[in-house]
């Protein structure tokens, strides 16, 4: 099928939101929206599922929790138990109160590092990556909507967009 993309640029987020809602209700697919700041409520309108980054952060945190507990058990209790200052290392459960600070810090550290790295890779944000916005003005004050369409619908959508307050329309 012969599909093409329409880039519609808006000066403000409100007409963009209204247009996106309108198009979505007509069954026209919006591929993406580029904006200088997060627009609240846009996810539901264009059908972006909720990100699962929170789940990954929890898993990284759990890994950090377990690894640090295991590390301290191995070093303090199993491998080389020492009695320092009258505080012997007999069993994990006896020493665990003094392990809690480090277990907590490791949990936070692993969750944060893992989360940010996952976020960067998931969005492919890497040092030197090519800018992902099709128009440089979208990081300043313009809002860009990409709509997927086929040849017949093109003009139809264009009139809809102009009526909806789009400032510029181009075909890619």
């Amino acid at each position: 099928m012969n599909t093409s993309a329409i880039h519609a640029i808006y000066d403000d987020e409100e007409p963009l939101l209204a247009a996106a809602k309108d198009l979505q209700s007509k069954g026209i697919k919006i591929l993406d929206i580029f904006s200088p700041f997060p627009i609240h409520g846009i996810d539901e309108i264009i059908g972006i599922p909720r990100t699962r980054l929170a789940i990954t952060a929890f898993i990284y945190g759990a890994v950090g929790f377990c690894l640090s507990a295991l590390m301290m058990w191995y070093m303090m209790i199993y491998n080389w138990p020492t009695d320092i200052g009258g505080k012997p290392s007999f069993a994990f459960y006896m020493n665990v109160p003094s392990f809690i600070p480090i277990i907590f810090e490791s949990t936070v550290l692993c969750a944060a590092i893992g989360l940010v790295i996952t976020f960067f890779i998931r969005c492919w944000l890497l040092p030197g990556a090519a800018p992902k916005n099709p128009d440089p003005r979208t990081t300043d004050d313009k809002f860009l909507m990409i709509i997927e369409t086929n040849e017949e619908n093109k003009n139809n959508i264009e009139t809809l967009l102009i009526k909806g307050g789009a400032a510029e329309i181009s075909f890619k």
Binding site: E14, D32, I33, F34, S35, P36, F37, P38, I39, H40, I42, D43, I46, I48, T51, L53, A54, A57, G61, M72, M75, M76, N79, W80, T82, I84, K87, S89, N95, S98, F99, P101, I102, F104, E105, S106, V108, L109, A111, A112, L115, V116, F119, F120, C123, L125, L126, P127, G128, A129, A130, P131, K132, N133, P134, P136, T138, T139, D140, D141
Partner: protein, 463 residues
């Protein structure tokens, strides 16, 4: 769209558009630096270099060149460490705790406060790394396999907890700061005209484009990092306080230390944020974004935390009397009336009395007055750490180890050096980094911008 009550004062003054915000934030980066900037930078770099000279001297000769002695093993080194770490706490509190509480005024100040956090933690790290005596063996602080057995580090020790706490704090703050910077670097990249700056900001911005999916993930990441950093703010200074509280010295061995240290940290941190921002908003013409209202909000935090600190001082005194423990009572009497009574007097005046003046609206909305009090609090909080450390150590259990403490020029030199490093980094930051999170500010322009608030129909009072 978000609505905001009409009686709330606007957070963005004047008639700004999205584009105007970009212009204002990019101006310090794209324009030429003023003569004053170069002057202050030169002074800072000179202090920094002097600090490096003293640091090198310490490393080559040994910590014997410091004023610390057998009785008073901790002097300016740990005083400065705790002071710097404390200053860092305001940045994380502003960006994490205030984000969770949905405080919109955070947006104008979080970036510079976070930068301050990172630089302050770096300054603090210098002291802990140096005070070990043989800094080239500092990797022993980490649980690495070794040839001694393996003889591992002691995880029962609060000093070990501190290693993990400070490292985690530095890394998480850095991640939080940098993730927030990415969309703003992208804004600078997209308007850069010179090829070199375009290239540099292109690398720094990681190719950010602002697609709806990315924004949704970005916001989730900010929220989770805020959730992770919030307990971190409280844990780091709690653990720092445990360096003292888990020892058996009278005057240190108290359960009030963790909350009291955390409140003190936020107190001193906000004072440092105010010191920096009052100058920065003026120099870079950011008065429309960092308004008097922002200053007032920060002063209110200072009243709250300053009062907690004051109450903690009183509680400590009361408990030492009420405990009936002679040694405990002596420790506190010695702080107030001993050889270092003047440090105690400075601490009490600066930290307990001065913040209470902010109850007057006229005073807490005055820039000059706020600036003076912020400096006073910075000094007071430095003396708080000095009072906790030196007078306690110079009169410990054994009279044979009683000693007085006098800093040497090396102690003073390294402290001046960290101040120089802090201001050098901060000056470079204000010149090359977007100092305000412009992408966040744009989200509140329509709800909290003065022009937009004025346009809105005032709600009629009659039903």
């Amino acid at each position: 769209m978000q609505q905001e009550s009409e009686i709330r004062e606007p957070l963005i003054i004047g008639s700004k558009s999205y584009h105007q915000i970009s212009e204002d934030i990019a101006k310090p980066i794209e324009g030429k630096a003023s003569k004053h900037w170069y002057m202050v930078l030169t002074v800072s770099v000179m202090c920094f270099i002097w600090g490096l000279v003293c640091l090198t001297y310490t490393v080559i000769t040994g910590v014997g060149v410091w004023g610390s002695n057998n009785g008073v093993a901790w002097g300016w080194d740990i005083t400065n460490f705790v002071w710097w770490i404390g200053i860092g706490h305001a940045g994380t509190l502003i960006s994490a705790v205030l984000l969770l509480f949905r405080q919109k005024w955070r947006m104008a100040i979080n970036r510079s406060a976070e930068a301050m956090t990172i630089f302050a933690v770096l300054c603090a790290a210098i002291f802990v790394l140096l005070h070990t005596g043989r800094p080239w063996l500092d990797y022993w602080l980490f649980p690495l396999p070794n040839q001694f057995g393996s003889l591992w580090v002691n995880f029962n020790s609060p000093l070990m907890w501190d290693v993990f706490a400070v490292t985690t704090y530095l890394i998480v703050s850095l991640l939080f700061w940098y993730t927030g910077l990415i969309p703003d670097f992208a804004m600078i990249r997209d308007r850069a005209l010179k090829p070199l700056s375009k290239k540099i900001y292109s690398i720094l911005s990681f190719g950010w484009g602002g697609s709806a999916r990315h924004w949704s993930r970005f916001e989730e990441v900010s929220l989770i990092l805020a959730g992770l950093a919030t307990p971190l703010v409280f844990s780091v200074h709690s653990i720092v306080s445990m360096d003292f509280a888990t020892s058996v010295l009278p005057g240190w061995h108290t359960t009030i230390f963790p909350p009291y240290f955390v409140a003190g940290a936020i107190f001193s941190g906000f004072a440092m944020v105010l010191t920096l921002l009052i100058i920065m908003r003026k120099v870079y013409g950011l008065e429309s974004y960092i308004t008097i209202k922002h200053i007032e909000y920060m002063n209110i935090v200072i009243i709250a935390t300053g009062t907690i600190v004051g109450i903690a001082y009183m509680t400590e005194l009361f408990i030492s009397w009420y405990s009936g423990v002679e040694y405990e009572q002596y420790a506190f009497l010695n702080r107030a009336e001993g050889h270092y009574w003047w440090a105690y007097a400075i601490m009490m005046t600066c930290n307990v009395i001065s913040p209470q003046l902010f109850w007057f609206k006229k005073l807490r909305t005055s820039l000059t007055f706020t600036f003076i009090i912020a400096i006073v609090i910075n000094i007071g909080m430095w003396f708080e750490r000095f009072v906790i450390i030196v007078p306690t150590l110079c009169r410990s259990f054994l009279p044979s180890s009683w000693n007085l403490y006098q800093p040497t020029f090396v102690d003073i030199g390294i402290f001046i050096g960290t101040l120089g490093m802090f201001f050098t980094f901060f000056l470079l930051f204000t010149r090359y980094f977007p100092v305000i999170a412009q992408s966040e500010l744009k989200t509140i322009l329509k709800s909290s911008g003065q022009e937009y608030k004025k346009k809105k129909e005032p709600r009629s009072l009659t039903p």
